[in-house]
């Protein structure tokens, strides 16, 4: 191993100069300027301003921002399949408006990228409606941009409460006239199960163990409020960092505390790691019961952990086994098209597309008046695969039923079986 390198290889190469003649600086800066204007020179499709006259017959431009790279890519692909399927099922027309293939952009699980792509939808593509966004931080990041650009945006996953509530000086985000949500608020999937466990299942004490980020903390607080309202008490809390690499130290601590009912919020790889550690340390055998928000045992997790999650009780507004005609039709259509079972993310995107479609039916396809478009969306309600779906008039968050589900092995496959229902759950936000 040579001693400390005296001269540095990086700069010992011929033609290596570090001073700048006037000409080079000029050439470079104008080159940088011109290179950047490249995209500007290319003419873009839609005319700059939409005419005030009825927009009947004009193609409806949809901009959909989903993760196609990084850790949530799988969710993005599932939601894209659902969006494409919806357009195909409507023969490429909403009311009298033809719907060309939506412009998909990758949010890459990075708020900076999400902001750039939203700006592109607004300035470059000038889309009529924007849908998508999986990660809550990105939804919070683009909230102000969408609001000031008066762009109608349907959030089809991110469940951060703040997106559809009034918060003190809009921190970390707050509701907007132009923002609707077709998925859920973290309160809806955490609070009702708290109250349900305490009042109906006689759970007097619970311990919470959640993923240490915005969503997890909100879910922990909402669950605690629900449990307390139902007469129970949370005896302690623990958090694991998002994307935690080793769950054994945490689950060992769970096993060292007396409270048997554990409530958790984890999703994706963290959920898998948690359930495996729970199983490896034999917590079920030791009498501990796993409860959580629906994403703890959704398809993307169940297909990996399989029967290790048996017995877990979760709350969510949908399950693949939910038997109502709309869910049957949707699941069959999806399976016929992609021979894959749909997941909750596909349902959320499907309902987002449907809300736009329903609103356009009411407006006869005329989207020139934003306020009428918003009122039409607010009045939208329909039978969704998850059951009755309607927007809360002033928060634009969905009003929907919550189902209590338990993981059981049905026909050799671990599935969430619905055991109970809590009707018309509405987010308390104003």
């Amino acid at each position: 191993m040579s001693g400390s390198t005296t001269t540095n290889e990086l700069a010992k190469h011929r033609g290596y100069t570090y001073r700048l003649t006037r000409r080079q600086f000029l050439v470079a800066s104008s080159a940088a300027a011109l290179a950047a204007c490249g995209p500007a020179a290319t003419p873009s499709g839609a005319p700059a301003t939409t005419s005030a006259a009825a927009t009947a017959g004009k193609p409806l431009k949809l901009g959909i921002l989903l993760p196609f790279t990084k850790v949530y890519a799988e969710l993005g692909n599932s939601m894209k399949r659902s969006a494409d399927l919806y357009i195909k099922s409507k023969g490429g027309k909403f009311a009298n408006r033809t719907v060309p293939a939506p412009i998909y952009e990758d949010e890459a699980n990075d708020p900076q990228v999400g902001l750039q792509k939203t700006q592109k939808f607004i300035d470059q593509d000038q889309v009529d409606v924007m849908l998508g966004i999986v990660a809550t931080p990105i939804a919070y990041a683009i909230r102000n941009v969408v609001d000031s650009a008066k762009l109608i945006f349907i959030e089809t996953n991110a469940g951060g409460n703040a997106l559809t509530r009034t918060t003190t000086d809009c921190k970390p985000a707050c509701k907007s006239k132009y923002i609707f949500r077709s998925s859920f608020s973290s309160w809806q999937i955490s609070n009702p199960i708290g109250e349900y466990l305490a009042s109906k299942k006689g759970v007097k004490e619970a311990f919470t163990f959640v993923s240490d980020y915005g969503f997890g903390t909100e879910s922990q607080a909402d669950f605690t409020a629900g449990l307390t309202k139902g007469g129970g008490k949370v005896t302690g809390t623990l958090k694991a960092p998002l994307g935690n690499n080793d769950f054994l130290p945490f689950v060992t601590q769970l096993k060292a505390q007396p409270t048997k009912d554990i409530y958790s919020f984890f999703s994706g790889t963290d959920a898998i790691g948690y359930i495996k550690a729970w199983n490896q340390l034999g917590l079920s055998a030791a009498g501990y019961k796993m409860n959580g928000a629906g994403f703890l045992t959704e398809q993307d997790v169940l297909k990996e952990v399989k029967e290790q999650a048996v017995g877990a009780i979760t709350s969510l507004f949908w399950a693949v086994t939910l038997d109502n005609p709309e869910n049957k039709a949707f699941t069959d259509l999806y399976q016929k098209e992609y021979n894959l079972l749909p997941d909750v993310f596909a349902v959320q995107q499907w309902d987002g597309m449907r809300a736009v479609d329903e609103a356009l039916q009411k407006l006869g396809g005329d989207t020139s008046d934003k306020d009428r478009f918003i009122r039409a969306l607010e009045d939208t309600s329909f039978k969704s695969p998850r059951g009755d779906f309607a927007f809360d008039k002033d928060t634009h968050n969905p009003i929907q039923d919550m189902y209590i589900r338990e993981v059981k092995v049905v026909g050799g496959q671990a599935v969430n079986v619905i055991s109970d229902k809590i009707a018309r759950v509405q987010d308390p936000g104003k």
């Binding site: 191993m1 040579s2 001693g3």
Partner: protein, 253 residues
């Protein structure tokens, strides 16, 4: 000027310096000779602060500078001419010298490069016989010219003590003669410490000679005394004549 007392240094098990004591008066020209592995380079590295001693003290003009870092010693007037050329290759000869000249002014100057600096650098280049070569990059100079530039850079810091690490290594006889004359012509106020294998150069330059062997001083005196010393002949002169120009010891890693 330089006062070294009982200097020790070992690398793991190997003892490179085993209690060296040495005193060099101001203006004196001291040569240090000894077979390979005698500890000459280790001594130099300690004197220039690149290596910390494991024992003993070093005093420079009365001040205890043991363990001081290289740049602190340099600022106290101790300059070094390296055995292998240590120059700023892409910079011009003038710039190499200018960097040494302005070392005292400190690096944090953000204005333009002062005009007089170029003139002072050219004067020094002339002194070492590189008059016209001011604008040539150091990497483009011949080996001999680079040694002359090495000397110019060392002198540019206006040192009180100049350490010369085998200044004639790898030089042709003609180049050796020129560099030795240059060194000989240096001001007598400048204290010199030379490590050299070529005995003609040693006897030409040195007022006194110290002989190192296996990390210890085995003889210390005028050239005549050392030449006559039986122990030195047996240990050193006897062996070296047989092995002329042995490769220099590698700096310990």
């Amino acid at each position: 000027m330089i006062d070294v007392r009982d200097l020790r240094r070992s690398f793991g098990g190997v003892t490179a310096l085993d209690g060296v004591t040495l005193a060099v008066a101001e203006g004196e020209r001291r040569a240090i000779i000894g077979p390979n592995g005698a500890g000459k380079t280790t001594l130099f590295n300690i004197l220039t602060g690149e290596l910390a001693p494991t024992g003993g003290t070093v005093r420079l003009a009365g001040e205890d500078v043991t363990g001081r870092r290289t740049f602190e010693l340099a600022r106290r007037g101790l300059a070094r001419m390296y055995q292998r050329n240590e120059l700023f290759d892409p910079l011009t000869a003038r710039e190499n010298v200018a960097l040494a000249l302005t070392a005292k002014a400190g690096p944090y100057r953000f204005g333009g490069i002062p005009a007089d600096e170029a003139r002072a650098a050219d004067e020094l280049l002339e002194r070492v016989g590189l008059a016209g070569a001011g604008a040539t990059p150091a990497r483009a100079l011949s080996h001999g010219q680079r040694r002359q530039l090495e000397l110019a850079v060392a002198l540019a810091t206006a040192p009180r003590v100049l350490l010369l690490d085998e200044p004639t290594a790898g030089m042709s006889p003609a180049e050796t003669a020129r560099i030795v004359e240059l060194i000989a012509s240096l001001a007598r106020s400048l204290t010199l410490l030379v490590v050299e294998h070529d005995m003609d150069v040693v006897f030409r330059l040195a007022d006194r000679i110290t002989v190192l062997h296996e990390g210890k001083v085995i003889a210390d005196g005028t050239p005549a005394q050392v030449r006559g010393d039986t122990l030195v002949n047996e240990v050193y002169l006897g062996k070296v004549i047989g092995v002329e120009g042995a490769p220099p010891p590698r700096t310990p890693r």
